[in-house]
Symmetry: C2
DNA sequence: ACTTGACTACCTACCGAAAGGTAGGTAACG
DNA sequence: CGTTACCTACCTTTCGGTAGGTAGTCAAGT
């Protein structure tokens, strides 16, 4: 009762546990997407959330464990976005457009500053533990599977070339978007990524 | 005369100055391509080359200055490779294949471990100084210009679609290769990147 | 021919800051 | 009374970077 949080002026102990943990993950994700894993520290997290650095260890025993937890959450959230697209009755081409928009929005909603979480971590793969690296690979796998479905759908409904429904093409689409995000982030911004995605779809359609 | 280098058993002062500096850049490039900029330290460099950490500062005043010098060297070397491809009398499609091979070879010659130097640094862009960031952008610019030339050439000689000779398509090609390198490095290796590149060229050709 | 002084390429020893992480305590909740 | 969510205080290691010294090279001056 008498103890007041200096930051938000609400009684500390009335705040649900999950909030701080989720906030830490939010900040961690933000920082990794902007600066990269090795340019982010526990001090950055604790300062942003308003707790002490040591208290972060109450939620995550180590940095690698935190990244692992972050990847778990991210995989689930991204999986839901993929399912949402795949569950619609849109054409394959429209699905692919919506999928590309996920990447464009990452850039346009952040002042052209954020990369893909897994894209950043792919570059810093050797700083991850086995579980973290496996989750990054799981991200790649679930994405290519989703894209493959879209390509197959597009081949059936006539919105995309029928013969592009291959695993390799799905990998190519993912590579283009991940690379495009990386490139556009440090050069032409979301407009550039949007152009790249349009050109990609155009090639797969005609 | 009497003073002997512990490492190579050659008189220290008969060894040309440039060697140590170049060796440091070699090791730095290797480490950045494998682990990333922020996972590499001056101690890593000095240990690999066989001098003391403080002596690295004799060659490079700071870490950012070292990365800047590394990027300068890399830009020049990569520029020569691009010129070599563009100066040949091959078809546009063949040129594009050779260009893609530059990325595939990075992976296949390193046990699927190395990424593109500028690809890694694009992810860690905020850890660079202004000059370094400018050089990364110069890398992107010179690459897209080169690819654009290849696409134009391919449009003329009939080996590629005539209407793909746009800046946007060149950006797309670069994005696919940078992203493909990133993806293949942590999943399917050089074979996967080779497949992605083949599929890309196929789309641009037919 | 001999000395001088600038220069190069290292060295040892050290600095403050920041990193990830630990130990042990406290206050509220159920 | 145990659990949760924090705290202060402190640890070791590593980071980029600095100060100051030493041995050898080399060209100019006398």
């Amino acid at each position: 009762m008498g103890v007041i949080d200096r930051q938000c002026c609400l009684p500390i102990h009335t705040m649900p546990t999950q909030n701080t943990r989720e906030k830490l993950l939010d900040v961690a994700q933000e920082l990794i997407q902007r600066r990269g894993l090795n340019a982010m520290s526990f001090r950055d997290l604790s300062d942003s959330v308003g707790i002490r650095k040591a208290s972060v260890h109450h939620h995550f025993a180590s940095k690698t464990e935190m990244v692992d937890a972050l990847l778990g959450r991210y995989l689930q959230q991204f999986g839901e976005l993929l399912d949402e697209i795949l569950a619609s009755r849109a054409s394959g081409k429209t699905m692919l457009k919506r999928y590309c928009d996920l990447f464009v929005q990452t850039l346009s909603s952040s002042g052209n500053d954020k990369g893909c979480l897994c894209g950043m971590l792919m570059a810093e793969l050797l700083s991850l533990n086995d579980s973290g690296a496996a989750k990054v690979r799981a991200f790649l796998s679930s994405n290519t599977m989703a894209v493959e479905s879209m390509l197959a759908r597009g081949g059936e409904d006539g919105s995309l070339q029928p013969n592009v429904s291959t695993k390799v093409t799905a990998w190519m689409v993912l590579a283009t978007l991940e690379g495009g995000l990386l490139v556009a982030r440090c050069d032409g911004g979301h407009k550039q990524l949007s152009d790249i995605a349009s050109r990609l779809i155009q090639l797969l359609a005609k």
